[in-house]
């Protein structure tokens, strides 16, 4: 019963933190577009938070460069448990066009564990919403 309540609250109120680990800005614009009135993610209780301490879901865009890798790890460690990472865009999923560059480590999963991958270059806001909804549905199913 108590566990059910907590799961319900977790699924209904995912607060996100947006992190750009070396994206070309296209995915970031799409992430912001999905938060804007046209798509309005607040319908699902999603709120964009500024501090990693407040966030549940880390929304990363872009391939991980060598310079950003320790910072990404630190931001991830600053988030309180339970936490989830969503990789948004082809670069975040695998490194994309920048895979194999001298200064690029690869996708987000080369540094921190990733819960959901959303491909696309850039991803559509609909795809982001779908990915987040699937992550939350999975979370709901696992704890049930």
């Amino acid at each position: 019963m108590f566990k059910k309540l907590v799961t319900w609250a977790r699924v209904k109120s995912p607060w996100i933190l947006h992190f750009n680990s070396g994206a070309c800005n296209a995915c970031d614009i799409e992430i912001l577009a999905s938060l804007m009135p046209h798509y309005d993610l607040e319908r699902f209780g999603v709120m964009l938070k500024a501090s990693p301490r407040h966030a549940d879901v880390l929304v990363c865009s872009g391939s991980v460069t060598k310079q950003i890798a320790p910072r990404l790890k630190r931001i991830y460690e600053q988030m309180p448990d339970p936490k989830f990472v969503v990789a948004v865009g082809a670069c975040a999923c695998s490194g994309g066009a920048f895979r194999g560059c001298y200064n690029v480590l690869g996708g987000i999963d080369s540094v921190i564990p990733v819960s959901a991958y959303i491909p696309g270059c850039p991803v559509k806001p609909e795809a982001i919403i779908d990915g987040v909804a699937k992550l939350l549905a999975q979370l709901d199913k696992e704890s049930a």
Binding site: L5, V6, W8, A9, R10, K12, S13, W15, P37, D40, E42, R43, F44, G45, K49, A50, S51, R53, H54, D56, Q78, P80, D81, P82
Partner: protein
Amino acid sequence: METVKVMLYILVFPGFLFQMIYSTYLEWVDRKLYARMQNRRGPLYTGWSGVLQPVADIVKLFAKEDVTPAASDKFMFNILPLVALASACTAGLYLPVWHLTGFNSFQGDLVVVVYLLAMPSFVLFLAGWFSVSPFSLIGATRVLTQLFAYEVPFFLALLTPAVVAGSWKIADIAKYPWASGNWWVIPLQVLAFIVAVLALQAKLERVPFDIPEAETEVVAGPLTEYSGKKLAVFRIQKDISMYAGSALIAALFLGGFGGGLYLGALQLVLKTLLVVALLSVIRGACARIRIDQIVSFSWRYLAPMSIVQFLIVLLLKGGGVI
């Protein structure tokens, strides 16, 4: 028996439980109105039309990991959220929502309530100070700077209805139009009402006065390092402060909650909703201003406005009209 009754007052009706439930409802109204102002729908799928959204947020935060930064002062960092919540709740406890009197009204409780409503701002400053992070330190100093700007106009504005009723007791002030029949004092005090609403907006640190927690500049201000349970307590405190502040303004400026239990309860809901709606409209219509702009705005416009209002009321009082 008497003890049980007092405990019920403190914990259930005008006290903690009622305030917590009602303030989450107020937060939902606020979020919905804000969303409508921005042409959005706001929370939609949590309970009926998203009415349980603030509850879900709070439950989720209570179930999250609680991080205490290594650099922070552990004792103060952990105790401060509770102090803020306690003072906000106590402020709500003295409001005359119980048959036109508070359950514990006394002469001078207006000053106590104003003091208790100012406490969370000081606590927020201390919270930022003791979490020892550059962002929270900057946010903490901004909290205090802002406090100096809005606190005096807020005091002056709340002084006006006290002078009209000739009492420092909130229950007497709320009762004044009912007892004397002078309902025209409510439109007379419109200037002070505007000042009080704007100062309450600044007190709650909402747009356009959200300078201490401006996320584009200082992450989340004093609350940057707070997570889990403590953040949840701060959120409850902010909601209860909104309830207590709006109910205080409704009691002082909008004629209180008289007319028996049911009519009184109805008035409590309608009048606090009116004040909260005003706060949401201000939040939706404005952009954030700078810290120097709020100080000059408060001292150049809000303080003189409340003094003019005060003079009008004093002259009428001296002339024997009121």
